[in-house]
Symmetry: none
Subunit: 307 residues, 2 copies
């Protein structure tokens, strides 16, 4: 039973087989993998071309594991089986070969000159954006957009760095005339979540997928019948059980100087922006005038004489 649950879980989460977002997917799912599976995933992400040339047995031997483990890993990555993973791998290999070099930039070091820091950071964030976009499940995204566009009210939960993302989303939604509120106080969040019911929507933002202060209000909202959306980097985390719609953010490798919060924020913001644009499209009739109105309203706050 537990096995069944887990399998269907991971399988449905990554419904469409990832085309080029494989490295990102490996990084995203690595924490939820067992040691042996991680070895396989690592090999696959590290040398797509080489692994594409191997059979299950070959890859199992290379990684010192068994065929069963290889197949399990393929499944976890969202493919029906090893055969399909292998095809995707071949595609990926062809892509990297034709495209520019993988360019694995070095970590940011303590003694990097400031110009290097700028370049590396910009590159890393670009990479994060590309990964997130590639790995984002557009079906789930579309569903989330529909839910939010039609919701009576929208509650948003996030703490720490994710709280800012939540506020960003709330600001945007308010600007196009939706009723949205970003909660940062966990207690108040729960208190408010109790008020939700069918027809309302709740959005939880947490990179770890296991932040109690965010899970709790989402659970309450879920139980009350509101439609729930989770934006998380760990689609297998505890929060997913209370999420009707799951939007996965991709995870970049982090270093000592560059905490995970930095790239997760970039990723989350992209998702939030996509939600916003999607909703603005659906509600264009009301969103467009609302946007220009809010623009107008701010005009007088800016000193007109820009020299």
């Amino acid at each position: 039973m537990t096995n069944d649950l887990k399998e269907s879980f991971s399988g449905s989460a990554g419904a469409p087989p990832a085309p080029a977002a494989l490295a990102a997917k490996v990084r995203t799912l690595a924490p939820s993998m067992t040691r042996s599976m991680q070895r396989v995933a690592e090999a696959v992400a590290g040398d797509p071309a080489g692994c594409a040339a191997l059979t299950v047995t070959g890859l199992a031997e290379l990684t010192g594991t068994s065929e069963a483990t290889v197949v399990r890993t393929a499944r976890l990555l969202g493919y029906p089986g090893y055969r399909d993973l292998r095809l995707a791998l071949a595609g990926l290999a062809a892509q990297q070969q034709s495209g520019r070099a993988p360019a694995v930039t070095a970590d940011i070091a303590v003694d990097d000159p400031i110009a290097d820091v700028v370049a590396k950071l910009a590159y890393d964030e670009q990479q994060t954006l590309a990964d997130t976009a590639a790995a984002l499940d557009t079906v789930q995204l579309g569903a989330a957009v529909s839910v939010l566009a039609a919701a009576r009210r929208i509650d948003i939960y996030g703490v720490g760095a994710s709280s800012l993302v939540g506020q960003d989303l709330a600001q945007k939604l308010l600007r196009i005339g939706l009723i949205a509120h970003a909660h940062t106080d966990p207690h108040l969040a729960v208190t408010n979540a109790v008020q939700l019911r069918s027809g309302d929507a709740a959005v939880a933002i947490t990179h770890s997928g296991s932040t109690g202060d965010v899970i709790e209000p989402l659970r309450v909202a879920f139980d009350r019948g509101a439609t729930t959306i989770a934006i998380t980097g760990r689609p297998d985390g505890p929060i997913s059980q209370y999420a009707d719609h799951l939007l996965t953010t991709s995870t970049a490798r982090e270093s000592e100087l560059r905490p995970a919060a930095m790239s997760s924020r970039t990723s989350q913001l992209l998702v939030v922006d996509c939600l916003f644009i999607g909703i603005a499209q659906r509600t264009y009739e009301t969103a467009a005038p609302a946007l220009s109105a809010s623009y107008e309203a701010l005009a007088h706050r800016h000193n007109p004489r820009t020299r």
Copy 2:
């Protein structure tokens, strides 16, 4: 005998499996193919992606031939067997698809499918990052880093969308042991700015460079002798006259659906991240332990069972 000859012939001629020149190879070898093989080759050249999804049996049925013929065709094209042809096909398909992608330079339209929205947004934000990184004055950045790293206390001003960026900066600086505060209330900001003096630092964040509510506290801080830093997209705006150091964010084109706030935020966050990393480098001795300490402190807030 003759059969053997032909096989070894074509086999050795195309020794290295063709990478992307498959269509050409099909055309070249077509005359030497039998009718059935031509049908298979045609199908393969016409729809690589579709054929890559088929098994030998499937392709045989599709072309109205047999498995044996499909395998023979694969051999003729220079592959050891159908399996390898299929891998090459998958690679080819991926290549064509990625080649088609770069057509996302257009604006986001109201009727864009959600997948396009994601691609375009990601692309735009990547562009913004690249522009910002290229335009960022590293000398000014280095100076700002020095100021902040040495400041007794740091006040940060931002309203609207920029307020979130300011809070992000404050959160980060606090995590490495600096005394930073992000003000969102313009009145309180001014009230606090009055307290500043030489040795303190003030950071103002405004895209327009002319937001009165942000200019005012920065002016006060400037007059009181604090070192002032402005992060703005308009280096010629009124705010610059009160800024000791000016960090310019780049501005991407905006559209009706994509307000300026979106790309300016991306740009501002990159600058903030650069500041943070720069400061963390300078104060590594204290920053590193502080970072891991704050990491530790949060650990128990996460549900430990992530697997």
